[in-house]
């Protein structure tokens, strides 16, 4: 260690501690700002300022070197980070969050790996250093690879449906976990060979892959949230190893918040976190998906944009039910125009937002807010469900599983018990859909076979635009 640089009246380690305290106070204050739509923007920026302070404080640590490498790495990260965050479409935000989460986890695993090499296998480190580091290595690695799979699934690089090894999946995952923890135990008990950390990292990487691959796309928001919490916890563990308060506090806050968020999302889908982790709907391999198909002899009624326009023009209340299909088709602006057109005709327009519509809670709110839909027209599930019986037309735009009445009525259905939007109570339902393919959960929607339902096939955006032009022509 070189001699302390600080010649000022205050000892540099005290200054750093004070700056860290300011930094994590700003994190906490900023996060509490995120609790309301009005304060959220400011809250996020306050947290960002906290981060800048934490980084600057770290530069003040005595005896820092390798400045060139550090600065180069910071610049490269910034150059990659800014454009990818700027250019990402709002529809692709969930996978972007997955990716950003993944690189965070990757950073944690890499730090632990470098530490292992640098200290010749944690040779003369105390257990209070070794155990958090190994925990961080395992969880960081799982988070990195798991998040990348989540990204690939949402980006449709990989198919969204569960990919798994069926019955051997669980024992295989357990075996990988045991290998990772076993290597960790070997290192903690004094083994210093590089092979142990490599086995640990590879086993956790495979675990991350194999845990997320069998999970169906419908559960992906919960998984991303869970991995987000994991990354937070491993950041806190890194903080314990490095004796760094900023890391401990920030990491743990994320760990706690991510866990709550994960539970809230799982509750909204009436799914337990263990059953999600255990694999796709029905336990794996798409078995559940196969059961539902072909059971219905019922017929589907197709309609035209002109018919849909007439129905809505003479309605008193229209409830729009957006889903992932709207996001994919980028139809939010078209939807907004349709709503404006309807309102000119004194039709009451509301939006029914299911907590897990889209790929993440709040996904639909973000998209509709982008299209300048007034905040107070967005109704949450509990608020809108009693309204459906008074609704003339429910316009379902690319939403599927969240409207499936089987969740209320069919105890054999894999989504039985999931709270849904009671669209089938309205007088008439118009469903905009690309094709009759089942939704992400891979099950058929009984709603489509009900007598009051008519289907308008095609891309959501062009369908909505057609309805709007028919409406103006009326």
């Amino acid at each position: 260690m070189s001699a302390p640089l600080a010649t000022s009246f205050i000892h540099s380690s005290d200054l750093i501690a004070v700056l860290y305290i300011i930094a994590f106070s700003l994190f906490i204050y900023g996060l509490s700002g995120l609790t309301g739509p009005r304060t959220a923007v400011r809250g996020n920026r306050i947290a960002a300022v906290g981060m800048a302070i934490a980084v600057l404080a770290t530069f003040l640590i005595d005896g820092m070197g390798n400045w060139v490498l550090i600065i180069i790495a910071l610049i490269i990260g910034t150059i990659i980070g800014i454009p990818s965050a700027r250019s990402v479409k709002m529809t692709a935000v969930p996978q972007m969050v997955a990716l950003f989460n993944g690189v965070g986890g990757g950073a944690i695993a890499l730090i632990a790996w470098a530490e292992f090499n640098d200290s010749a296998g944690f040779a003369d480190k105390p257990l209070t250093f070794i155990i958090p580091s190994l925990f961080a290595a395992i969880v960081g690695s799982v988070s990195f690879w798991g998040s990348n799979i989540a990204f690939a699934k949402l980006q449709e690089i990989l198919p969204g449906h569960p990919i798994g090894a069926g019955r051997v999946q669980q024992p295989l995952n357990l075996l990988l976990l045991l290998i990772a923890v076993g290597s960790a135990a070997a290192i903690a008990s004094g083994e210093t060979a590089t092979v142990y950390i490599l086995v640990l990292l590879v086993a956790s990487a495979l675990l991350g892959l194999f845990v997320v691959l069998p999970i169906g796309g419908a559960d992906m928001p919960v998984v991303i949230s869970l991995l987000n919490a994991f990354t937070g916890l491993s950041a806190a563990a890194t903080g314990l190893a490095l004796n760094n308060t900023a890391l401990i506090v920030a990491g743990m806050i994320v760990g706690a918040s991510g866990t709550i968020l994960t539970r809230l999302m799982a509750d909204a889908m009436n799914r337990s976190i263990p059953s999600i982790i255990a694999g796709g709907f029905g336990g794996g391999g798409g078995e559940a998906g196969a059961e539902g198909t072909g059971e219905h002899g019922g017929t589907v009624r197709a309609t035209s944009a002109a018919d849909a326009a007439i129905q809505m023009a003479f309605a008193r209340q229209v409830v729009i039910v957006p889903g992932y299909g709207m996001a994919v088709a980028q139809a939010q602006h078209a939807v907004r125009e349709l709503a404006t057109e309807l309102e000119k005709r004194n039709v009451e327009v509301k939006y029914a937002i299911h907590p897990v519509a889209g790929r993440m809670p709040g996904h639909m709110n973000v998209l509709l807010a982008e299209a300048d839909v007034p905040y107070d027209q967005l109704k949450e599930m509990d608020e809108i469900n009693p309204e459906f019986s008074r609704t003339d037309v429910a316009l379902v735009i690319g939403a599927n599983d969240v409207t499936n009445p089987a969740a209320n009525t069919n105890s054999d259905s894999p989504i039985y018990g999931m709270p849904i939007l009671n669209v089938n109570e309205s007088k008439s339902v118009i469903v905009l859909k690309r094709s009759m393919n089942p939704g992400f959960a891979g099950i058929e929607n009984e709603l489509y076979f009900e007598p009051m339902t008519s289907m308008l096939f095609g891309d959501a955006k062009s369908s909505v635009a057609e309805i709007t032009s028919e409406l103006t022509a009326l």
Partner: protein
């Protein structure tokens, strides 16, 4: 030292719980994204280990540089994308057509 840090850890967990359990549903995506940016704080870990490392091998320097790059992407990208998302909620004083809407 370790025990003090564990105490901080536990308290931070409760703070996280208290602060976040009040967030409305509609802000969950931005919240996830915001907390995601905050765990990018691991970049500090990379900076410290690389900065204080005395005779790191080339491999380790490389690993740590990648770690810092990753951490920076996490922080910078995370905050920016959250900001973009949240800007959309802030559309209150937006164009005139919105005002028409509210009169109705």
């Amino acid at each position: 030292m370790f025990i003090t840090n564990v105490a901080i850890l536990v308290l931070a967990g409760f703070v996280g719980y208290a602060v976040i359990s009040k967030v409305p549903n509609t802000l969950h995506t931005p919240l996830m994204s915001g907390t995601n940016a905050i765990h990018g704080i691991v970049v500090l870990g990379g900076i410290i280990v690389l900065g204080l490392g005395e005779d790191l091998s080339t491999l380790d320097k490389g690993l740590l540089m990648i770690a810092i790059v990753f951490g920076t992407i996490n922080v910078v990208g995370g905050f920016l994308v959250t900001d973009r998302m949240l800007e959309m909620f802030k559309s209150k004083p937006a164009p005139a057509k919105q005002a028409d809407e509210e009169q109705k």
